[in-house]
Symmetry: C2
Subunit: 717 residues, 2 copies
């Protein structure tokens, strides 16, 4: 296969649209540029020839190359550039180095070659910011053959690089060539600059003044939400990107939040009599296909194991997308009489749904962690009751722990769980994008599955009846929601109840004049303070690293969202006080050490409730009530969700989606899960407005039928 | 494909050896029998023609057939038979029923047809015990074609049926035909009889006298260990078989033990500064193949995902067999300076090792749960220290929680972790089989992986060095060990510390004369007793089911291994006492209610330490010290493990395995993991005998070289 065919295939695999163009053979860069001027595809009238260069940092590992992508017209000032990345010098990499690191020959290098790199963290990609000034400009890549050119839009290349795990830096090469040396400052330009290994090292050595520039979030939440989200997750060390698309690494800072949720929810369902168990991850296709509607809902996303070692399996085995069809054949054998009921099992496990659409950390991933509860009852009433008990626990996870307000309600027929009878949900809201997000769902499966799997009992009346079943699940999506809702331009903001570090104690006020004894005493007092707080059950920690300045430490822990900082300086100690800093409001306050425990406790409770109140206010301001279609799309475009009277007909829901999609401005990124971002029903809130639907009178907001309920609509994740 | 080819393929898939034999066409059963007499393969001189019959219980679901396999010469007395299974009547199943349930035409039915049944729990298989009198006898199956016969040894058929999840009952059909009705009694003959749905129902109705016969373990631990093990696991509801071979369902009774282990071990490593995280389950082949020795060790057992939905993946993705190659590329990007060390991460997750050898619940399974710790240090010393700290925690899990004695030591070069520097282990012992079992391992990986993955730091001396790494894991195998070591002929015996129910309170002494008030008071007192115990942190529960007799309840909880039973009868209450029963020793004792909490607490502690002492005594009696080869194989055949001076040469280890294998009597079942059950080194115990190896003097027990250490040898799981 020609190297161009390779690139074309690679671009297809990553859903990157491109234009391939053949032309007379060109001898060199200049000749090529001229050729494209004279002869280029009509659709790419707006294009810029690009060049790619591979550098090997001097002294750096051969396996840590720097890939530079620039406009053909831009200079590439190698030394100022590598200095700005924290390296001493570099030279252009030899062919073998290029081949061994990027998997292509030197002449075949393009930014897309990083797709061949297994451990993307080893590569630094620098992109000429001039090449990115307009996302719609096509960049022309020559390297693969002097007889053809491949055109890719700048925005697509950038998305590809941001989405991969490489350290990706934007640098204005022209500027860099002119003014030098501007080292660190420049490095901070790139969204991921601080992640380049050397830059990290730089940080450690850097003086306080530069700290912030170097480690902070470099985009504003409101300006570029997706880059902001990615930066917060990676730089707060919540998560790291993985070399298999759609899979992510949950680092301890994120996993600890999940553990808090597990502890609360696990404890509550145990009180309800639910028991933990573990079923196999693999499902035979026979079992998977047992419930038709169900499998229709999942089959497009099922991952199949077909080989073990060198041998092919007799029949492919599915990896569970959810466990109804894994568990219920055995429920049938365990449940024989009403005395075997209720059967209430839960498991905490991983599931796989191989989505082909844009994955997003925590929100839409190919593997994720969740709990799934699967219960069986003799009567509909018991099942109905449990559905709501569990949904209320989900509400409490969001509202009482994550400080995120949610709307509990029932899903429309169109949006309900495949194969179930009805689905209840708690719906969250992300103000920055104006999109709603399904928080967790609790399904009543009715007797649909028990009929398929012959789960029958003899009831007291000695009749053979099918059992009533529920299933309910809460996933690590929760972690994405808490970041999106509370994070700010400084980074993460964690609600105290889920923060693994609630209070960070930082000794400060050390100057050249400070004596060693004073300094030692300061550190000792800080440790004592932590012990006092820990003794009271507060998750406190002291940052006593001596190689970082206080301002650096402030930024470090603000970025990670620690709710409260206690600064302890000589002056504070003199007054036997500490200075508290609230991450959420950035408010400072002197606290007497004598009563530090109660003060900190009430401060943490205050922060928890303030964060919820703030999020609820933002949500409520964006929850518009409408009686007619007028202003519906306008409200969506203004990033609101809408409560409106609805007829509950599926056709009507389809129409609303189409109509709200067509009219929606292109300012929202396309999302396959919500085609053209048309509005979906989020839920029919259990809490209907007092002046609600009047039977047979109130009209549907979107059609001529009568309304059945006030339903919540919105663009959604 | 002919139906015979189908069967042949099916047998191959299940590693069931068979002989296929073609012969002149036969018209009926008699003709076929005669034909085989005149003309059969030489190797199957010892055979018996078999017949298969499918019955549909009257009133039972069409989907719950009874498959009867009998000697052609045996009668099949349908009604007495189905009665003995708890059904009223049955008739032979129609063709369509046979096809829809067993997936084959009526004339093609053999016991192996159950391989086609997705939910095996729906099928009851009855085997004529006369067909199983000699395991070496070939059973001849005709049905697939009147022109050919397939011969399978009785033992292989039985193993196949026992290994599948069907309700499998042995019944002496001849006897049944003669004497009738002997209902329940007969049903109890089969190892899995009590699991047939109807039999279960029977149990409920059964009077005390029959309870035991019906639900108990039907084989003795010493007579048929593997059937005993399977019965204990399934009937104590620890585990259920799954329709994918090598995968099992962990039911709450087992999972709760795992949770106790997680709580203890998780808490201890947290104190050591280890943090929990979660890495993806999928590994790219590129990453997986990075460490050569490592991948050699695992590749034969790796499961590969090659399809998602309908589309083939660009490249196959492996399911983690362990996570070194998943995690370490990212360690390389996170670890830049000595300040980033130590890095100590742990995850609780599932892993997949697709073994093709006999799977065994908990002990050798294709998917299992474990914790895997992965740590990195700047110095060898830190790594060495942690390896031993973790190993000691593993020892404590076994000795302090599971009451199972283990020998901590170092693995030989041959037995160490693939790709690591050295492996430490805790080795357990199963007296009934005389086989050792690896309990858990803590590996020092040295710098082997950090070199492969470029995990380097700049140390204080500003030198670039590779980090030192460890990995360590403990799996759900622990659950199998505790069952094998402590279980007895009545079923499970659980150590109090891991039992989810430590005390079961059972009201007793209710007779026809007992007044309703007395009865009510008895139940009330039982509940109060439970509350008292729970308030003191004892995991107590009362069995107040009114549809079961006390003796039934005794058996029910003894089978499940609950450490202490408290019987509360009118007479006991009159003396304000309760009668305690120890599951381990079956000792009874009157306990005053006034001091019930301290008495029960000390009783539980006593049981915990007595169980460990008993297991240790049994182990020590079987741990023989030898100086020379004489008596080595004899000791192994006497189900002992052997401590002997060894030269530590791999070739010598190979020779020992061969020599001990050749000489071993065939009384042990073949096991591919330990070919012909030759002896392996278990470990080089850290605790060497005082009168240990004398440098340059002591000779190896198995060759002419000098011994380096006393090493523990044995046949092993």
């Amino acid at each position: 296969m020609s190297s161009q065919a390779h690139l074309a295939e690679l671009l297809k695999r990553h859903n990157i649209s491109f234009v391939a163009h053949s032309h007379p053979q060109t001898t060199d860069l200049k000749h090529w540029v001229q050729t494209l001027k004279d002869n280029h595809p009509a659709e790419v009238s707006n294009f810029a020839p690009a060049k790619s260069l591979v550098l090997k940092p001097k002294g750096g590992a051969v396996t840590n190359p720097i890939l530079v992508v620039a406009l053909e017209s831009s200079p590439i000032p190698i030394n100022p550039l590598v200095k700005s990345l924290g390296n001493k010098e570099a030279r252009t990499a030899a062919d073998d180095v290029t081949k061994s690191t990027l998997g292509v020959d030197k002449i075949d290098v393009t930014p897309f070659a990083i797709a061949n790199v297994q451990d993307k963290s080893t590569v630094t990609v620098v992109v000429d910011s001039d090449a990115l000034t307009s996302g719609d400009t096509y960049l022309a890549f020559r390297n693969f053959s002097s007889e053809s050119t491949i055109f890719v839009k700048a925005a697509q290349m950038k998305a590809f690089l941001s989405g991969s795990a490489v350290s990706f830096t934007e640098v204005k090469l022209a500027g860099l060539a002119a003014a030098a040396p501007i080292g660190k400052a420049d490095a901070s330009k790139g969204p991921k600059a601080a992640q380049t290994p050397k830059a990290k090292a730089e940080v450690a050595k850097a003086d306080a003044a530069d700290d912030k520039k170097l480690i902070g979030i470099t985009v504003k939440k409101d300006d570029d939400f997706s880059t902001w989200y990615q930066q917060v997750l990676t730089r707060a060390e919540m998560l790291d990107y993985y070399d298999i698309s759609g899979c992510y690494i949950l680092r301890p800072w994120a996993f600890n939040i999940w553990k808090v949720i597990q502890k609360f929810f696990g404890g509550e369902i145990e009180k309800l009599g639910v028991e933990d168990c573990y079923f196999p991850m693999f499902v035979s296709s026979r079992a998977l296909n047992r419930e038709k509607d169900h499998i229709e809902g999942f089959s497009p996303e099922v991952a199949w194991v077909t080989k073990a070692g060198q041998s092919d399996l007799a029949e492919p085995i599915a990896v569970r997308p959810t466990s109804e069809t894994v568990m219920y054949p055995y429920y049938a054998s365990w449940i024989r009489s009403h005395r075997d009921l209720p059967l209430r099992l839960n498991q905490w496990c991983n599931v796989v749904r191989w989505e082909f659409k844009h994955p997003q950390p925590f929100i839409r991933t190919r593997e994720f962690l969740w709990q799934e509860g699967h219960t069986a009852f003799a009567t509909r009433q018991e099942a109905d009751t449990e559905v709501r008990q569990i949904l209320d626990l989900y509400r409490r996870v969001y509202e009482e722990y994550l400080a995120v307000p949610v709307v509990p309600g029932k899903k429309s027929e169109k949006e309900k769980f495949a194969g179930g009878e009805y689905t209840t949900t708690v719906e969250g809201f992300i103000p920055t994008t104006g999109r709603a997000i399904q928080g967790a769902t609790s399904h009543c499966l009715g007797t649909n599955f028990s009929k398929m799997f012959n789960i029958m009992i003899e009831n007291e009346a000695k009749e053979r009846i099918h059992v009533w079943q529920n299933s309910w699940g809460l996933s690590t999506r929760t972690l994405g929601v808490v970041v999106m809702v509370h994070g700010d331009d400084q980074g993460l903001v964690l609600p105290p109840r889920v923060a693994s570090v609630q209070v960070i104690v930082i000794p400060t006020g050390i100057t050249a004049k400070t004596s060693d004894d004073e300094r030692a005493n300061l550190f000792k007092k800080s440790e004592e303070l932590v012990e006092t707080l820990q003794a009271a059950g507060i998750r406190a920690k002291a940052d006593l690293r001596d190689n970082y300045t206080p301002p650096f430490k402030y930024n470090h822990w603000e970025l990670r969202g620690v709710p409260v900082r206690l600064e302890v300086g000589p002056k504070d100690l003199a007054k036997s006080e500490a200075c508290s800093f609230r991450r959420d409001t950035r408010a400072k306050q002197q606290l007497p050490l004598a009563s530090i425990v109660p003060s900190v406790q009430s401060l943490l409770e205050q922060i928890q409730s303030d964060m919820f109140a703030k999020a609820k206010k933002e949500r409520d301001e964006r929850l518009i009530r409408l009686e007619t279609w007028d202003g519906f799309v306008d409200a969506l475009n203004k990033k609101c969700i809408v409560l409106a009277p609805w007829c509950e007909r599926e056709q009507c829901e389809e129409d609303v989606k189409d109509n709200s999609a067509r009219s929606s401005a292109g300012d929202e990124p396309q999302d396959e899960k919500a085609p053209s971002m048309g509005a979906k029903t989020l839920c029919i809130p259990f809490d209907q407005p007092k002046d609600g639907v009047i039977e047979g009178k109130t009209k549907c907001f979107a059609c001529d039928h009568k309304a059945k309920s006030y339903t919540l609509w919105g663009r959604s994740y």
